[in-house]
């Protein structure tokens, strides 16, 4: 589904991603871990098409298409969803309105008719139960005054509404209380099918107890320096990143 080859990306002339290779197949869950500042959010944003980053080398292919040819909104239309580490606020625009616009803009991109109010409401109700989000939150301005956890839950609700092929969750677990992590993970699991895939960015192995990854990758200084299975996450939790750093320095 997603194939990243030797990806290099800069911001303000500073190289952040320094040769990423990653393959994600339909039905898989991949987790990316790594110390602060290693480039996890950068990678997520580059896949989603954020233009502040300059891709200097390499390629990203998604469903057989060269993603570089697509704008961020077209990538969303192609089925890429990013749950933001820091969701932004839009005062005066209700969350419901925002999601309705998103749903219909993506439908338009795919050549589908817009959803009418009745259909939309039905879908909202269904997904609200799935991620256990409160109605009152959705009639408030987008993320304005939401607590950290509410913002994250709202991201997952949007994911549920948009039903992406590839969901990139950038630290969606950070800021969630223990019950909320379980609910969000549950939501993600229920939305999994053999046709979609998830890329989880997280610092904590706890999330991976609920959403079992097929692969775990460690990102360090803009490169994936180690890949493994779920066991790797346990090892990291136990030992910290030092042993990886040591390995990298040794290899260098």
């Amino acid at each position: 589904m997603l194939s990243i080859r030797n990806l290099h990306a800069n911001i303000d002339g500073k190289e952040i991603l320094r040769g990423i290779n990653l393959d994600i197949k339909a039905g898989e869950v991949h987790a990316i871990m790594g110390p602060n500042g290693s480039g996890k959010s950068t990678l997520s944003a580059v896949i989603a098409g954020r233009e502040d980053y300059e891709v200097t080398e390499g390629e990203i292919e998604f469903m057989g298409k060269n993603l570089m040819d697509f704008s961020p909104e077209e990538r969303a239309g192609e089925g890429i969803f990013l749950s933001f580490q820091y969701p932004i606020e839009i005062p005066g625009l209700t969350t419901t309105n925002f999601i309705k616009t998103a749903v219909n803009e993506i439908r338009k991109y795919r050549g589908q008719e817009p959803m009418d109010a009745v259909q939309f409401l039905k879908k909202m109700k269904e997904k609200m139960t799935l991620v256990n989000i409160d109605q009152s939150l959705l009639s408030r301005s987008l993320n304005e005054g939401f607590s950290g956890g509410e913002k994250k839950r709202n991201e997952i609700f949007q994911m549920a509404m948009l039903e992406p092929r590839l969901a990139i969750l950038d630290e969606t677990d950070s800021g969630l209380d223990i019950d909320a992590i379980r609910i969000v993970a549950n939501g993600v699991n229920k939305l999994r099918t053999k046709d979609n895939a998830v890329l989880l960015v997280t610092h904590y192995q706890r999330l991976l107890d609920y959403i079992i990854p097929d692969f775990v990758h460690v990102l360090y200084k803009g490169r994936i320096v180690k890949s493994g299975t779920k066991e790797l996450a346990y090892e990291l939790e136990e030992k910290g990143y030092d042993f990886i750093k040591a390995e990298v320095e040794q290899g260098a």
Binding site: A48, A117, L121
Partner: protein, 493 residues
């Protein structure tokens, strides 16, 4: 779950976006010229011009005298330059002060209106057809200098409501006109008001009798058509005791390279327990992307809450004009009276707006509320200028002002000039102001959800302006949303 609430809200958005799509790449769509013969005064301004206008309109002697007096005062006055506006000097002798579409006779019924004119109004989306009762809006259409048609007149007359052109009111209701004309905006109030008094050609007149709630929106559409013509309309609305009226004003003009002058005066009078809601969707031609052409809009709007417990509410959505100089104000004379000002002013490219309000608290326990939302893009300059005055007898006066600015890009400017004068210690005046920018990260967030940048800007801007838009009559809210989006097209990304 409040499902009804969500549902209706979404329907509005739906329409808003559809219209947005239709109008993408559609620049100023009202920029056409109607090919009709006009009956004009020669260029320039002197006493003869004024006599010409007055004669054309077959005005009584007192009206001519009133105009001449205004003109003589105007000659002694200076054009004001305290506003944060820059424009080349206006040559008042290079303007045509009167232009009327040639019609054989004043039409007796709507069917007699020149088909070319009729087409113009159809293009503008204004129905002059009284059959279309569904729209529930009575319209007075003013083209260049004269009122062309007023709809629903008879139905309104049944309740004693007078809704007609100002010229008709001068003929048919001289006692009301003489009583209230220039009672709120004196002839010599300011340079542009004096000019208007001298040369005004038409406008709307509304009288709502005691205890009557006007059953429909009253609306006037102003359109400048002829070249080199100034438009000087004058509107007077009187709401007698315990009455209510909601009035809407809209305006458009063709695209022209040279600037055209518009200097209107609006006066509102609210007696005891009366309420006037005055809404404006101002869409005069703003000039092109390089700042050529566009309307110079110098407007004096003022209402007086004359009676106790009366209320005047101004709502304006200002997207057009090259230059806007406009401060709809309320004199809170009656005890317990209420004044409100809700404004969205958008400037793009090289537009300049200096707009705001004056709330003059004179009576006891008077209250006022100001909500101003300025949106600047391109190379434009957008200023809020407001005065809250609490007189020495205005015990218990309260004001709340909120002035927010939103910037798109970094070549435009937003400015706030709040003036506060409190002469009574019991007065409470609160002022809040914020300035924000549409951020790259807001746009990217929307893009990531499949929403393109143009639509994202529309969503953000409409969110920003929501509190004001909520005060527009329902029929016009969608149109106004669409206008905001169109006027900001191409301003980001």
């Amino acid at each position: 779950m409040k499902s009804d609430e969500i549902q209706s809200e979404n329907i509005v958005v739906d329409e808003g976006l559809d219209i947005l799509e239709q109008t993408v790449r559609n620049e100023y769509k009202y920029g056409f010229v109607t090919d009709i013969e006009a009956d004009s005064a020669p260029k320039g301004l002197n006493e003869d011009t004024i006599r010409f206008i007055s004669a054309k309109k077959e005005e009584p002697e007192w009206m001519l005298e009133w105009r001449l007096k205004a003109f003589r005062q105007w000659l002694k006055m200076q054009e004001p330059h305290w506003a944060n506006l820059k424009y080349p000097a206006i040559d008042y002798q290079d303007i045509i002060y009167y232009s009327a579409p040639k019609q054989k006779e004043k039409p007796k019924s709507l069917d007699e209106i020149d088909p070319e004119l009729r087409k113009t109004f159809e293009k503008l989306g204004i129905s002059l057809d009284e059959q279309k009762r569904l729209t529930g809006v009575a319209v007075d259409a003013v083209i260049d200098s004269v009122s062309i048609a007023t709809t629903f007149k008879e139905q309104l007359a049944e309740q004693g409501i007078i809704f007609c052109s100002m010229s008709e009111a001068i003929q048919n209701h001289p006692e009301l006109v003489r009583q209230y004309l220039s009672s709120v905006v004196p002839v010599t109030d300011n340079y542009f008001a004096a000019l208007n008094a001298a040369v005004f050609s038409d406008g709307s007149f509304v009288y709502i009798p005691k205890g009557v709630r006007c059953p429909m929106e009253l609306s006037t559409y102003f359109r400048i058509n002829a070249e080199n013509t100034g438009q000087f309309e004058r509107t007077l609305i009187v709401a007698d005791e315990g009455s209510f009226v909601s009035y809407l004003e809209g305006c458009t003009a063709p695209m022209r390279d040279e600037n055209q002058l518009h200097a209107a005066v609006v006066e509102l009078v609210a007696m005891d327990n009366a309420e006037i809601k005055y809404s404006t969707v101002q869409n005069w031609y703003p000039g092109d992307k390089e700042g050529n052409g566009g309307i110079y809009n110098f407007v004096t709007k003022r209402g007086i809450c004359k009676g106790n417990h009366s209320k005047i509410s101004w709502t304006q959505v200002e997207t057009g004009s090259a230059i806007t100089w406009k401060y709809p104000s309320v004199i809170l004379k009656g005890d317990h009276s209420v004044g409100e000002f809700y404004s969205v002013a958008v400037t793009n490219n090289y537009q300049q707006a200096d707009t705001g309000t004056k709330m003059m608290h004179l009576g006891k326990n008077t209250r006022s509320r100001i909500v101003s939302k300025g949106i600047s893009a391109g190379f434009s300059q957008n200023s809020y200028r407001g005065l809250v005055h609490v007189g020495k007898n205005a015990t218990g006066a309260r004001n709340f002002s909120q002035c927010d600015s939103l910037l798109l890009g970094d070549k435009c400017g937003a400015h706030t000039f709040p003036y506060i004068e409190v002469k009574n210690k019991s007065g409470v005046v609160e002022h809040e102001a914020t300035t924000s920018k549409i951020g790259e990260d807001q746009i990217f967030y929307c893009n990531q959800r499949g929403i393109d940048t143009e639509t994202a800007v529309a969503l953000i801007v409409n969110g920003f302006a929501k509190e004001v838009m909520a005060h527009l009559p329902m029929e016009f809210a969608v149109e106004a949303q669409k206008l905001l989006a169109i006027s900001l097209e191409g301003s980001v990304g």
